[in-house]
Amino acid sequence: MSFSVFLRGVVVTAEKNIRIYYKKAPVIIFGILFPLFMFISFYIGRDIDISRFFPGFLAMTLFFTASSVGPLITPWEKQAGTYERLLSYPVTVSTIILGDVAAGMVFGAFITTLVLTAGLIFLAISVFNIFIMVISVILGCLCFASLGVLLASPSSKAPSNVMMLSSLVRFPLIFISGIFVPLQELGWTGLFLSYLSPLTYLVDIFNACLNGTAMLPLAVDILGLAFFTCIFLVAANLLHKRNLIKGL
């Protein structure tokens, strides 16, 4: 397969997903409203320095938005009976997966940029390293969009089941990744668990870029995020192929 044909398949799939799935209620609820309510419930009634926790909230926003589209697409397509037609087009399963990942990435990057811009304007936060910030937003979006697509791999025909599973996986991560409790304040067990979460590395990069304080060297954070991205992409590819026929 030529690269141009492959790329065309990815782009068309991503465009299709953007047009159809961004407006779906689960994406808006789990992608936008959830992180917003989490932030409000944490912030209201407490005397905290919001700019100190802003990198964590930004990472949480990116995490929720980028990973909210992927779990929905495959179950929705199987339920609607459009998945078989999609497979009959000149695409492979890998093309479809990357198209789904791209849709999640664009959604995550757009909302994160909006929140970051609002933070820069209203909270007078400054970015220490714009280049690293841009790279980390892209890498973070890729990583968590891939996680979202991986979560869709059980291939249930009911999108609600997959969204439930995705909440089960995503919620614990935000409590162990240094968003609400800074990594420096975690005990050994907490720290060990936090290193198992890809979100930790993104929070640490954002802390470095926006607050100038990081727990780990930047290279380790970026490598950690890249490692999890590879794991999610490979696992999504394998599991989607294995469960292809389920629910068709």
Binding site: I20, G81, T82, E84, R85, S88, V91
Partner: protein, 392 residues
Amino acid sequence: MTFNFNQGLTIAQIITFTVTAITSVPLFSSYLRGVDTINPIFTHHLPVWFGFAFILIAIIKISIRKKLILNQLGLKDAWGNLNGKNEPAIEVSNLTKSFGRIIAVNGMSFTVSKGEIFGFLGPNGAGKTTTIRMLTGILAPDKGSIKIDGINLAKDPIRAKMVIGVIPEAGNVYGDLTAKQNLALTGRYYGLSKGHIAKRTEEILTALGLYERGDDFVRTFSKGMKQRVSIACAIIHEPKILFLDEPTEGLDVQSRRLIVDTIQRMNKLGCTVFLTTHNIEEANRLCEKVCIINKGKIAAIDSPEKLKSTFEKTQTIEISFNQRIDKEALSNEVIFGVESMGDKLRLHTDNPDKAVKYLVALAQEHGVEIVSLVTCGPSLEEAFLRLTGGGE
């Protein structure tokens, strides 16, 4: 080299003619005139140049036989045979697929010729959908090979998928997109330009009676209209082979007619059609060849008429009287089965002549009128039932 103009010229023959003509005409003309009008080197070394020409022809012929040049250029199908009707569009060999311990498709082999409408029939669970999913590259077979238009599906699935159009069994179109957006999306997957997509969209939606609703969301359409959008998506790129998995199932008469007309129109334009259906009568009317499968294996494969004639001894008579007649009274030595069909009776016989004479006499004897009487030859439905064990 033999030429059969009824079957058309092969690419090998065309290239041989062309190369021979290009090399021979200037050489001969200069040789006969005895002057070096082209270049002295041509006439002085004439035998050598003839030798080169023949070697070149031989190389081209060998290359074509090995499908090197044409496969590389992707031209085999357009050039392989100008008629093409006798070339296989689909070649299936020893196709096998299991799900756990259940063998859904068991060593199936068949060929579909180019330009043919091929019916694929079988009872529920016989393996039709699994087979069509393997042929369209959705499922990978456990064993066996599939060639679509000469392209090995396992080795080059994208190229094979580019030449096919598919209406899957559960092949809905996107309800959140309009009919035109669905077609544009499909066209873009096949790499069509915007202009071409717009032109084809207008053509197809008009032909399918949907142009006025082109900008409406598909979720607002009826089942028949959705299926028409589905077939529009399958043909927007003018595929060489069209796969349809029960395309008219559960549709209204108008939609069914439009879809059947579209299938026939595509076929007239040279498209090969692979059709699975439960509607035996539809297969009988549309298909040049039918394959009946049962329990994952081919039970029979032939033209509908030949399949019917396999069961020639059984014929039926459909008769309707103006009064009710006891079914028992109709049975005799030539009528060996009577069944009710609404206000008619269907009688099975191996001697229609004697049976009709008997029925006329019986009507006179009972003082009843015959409202209608039709003799029917052996049906494809009967062949289907016999082959799949449904008639036992």
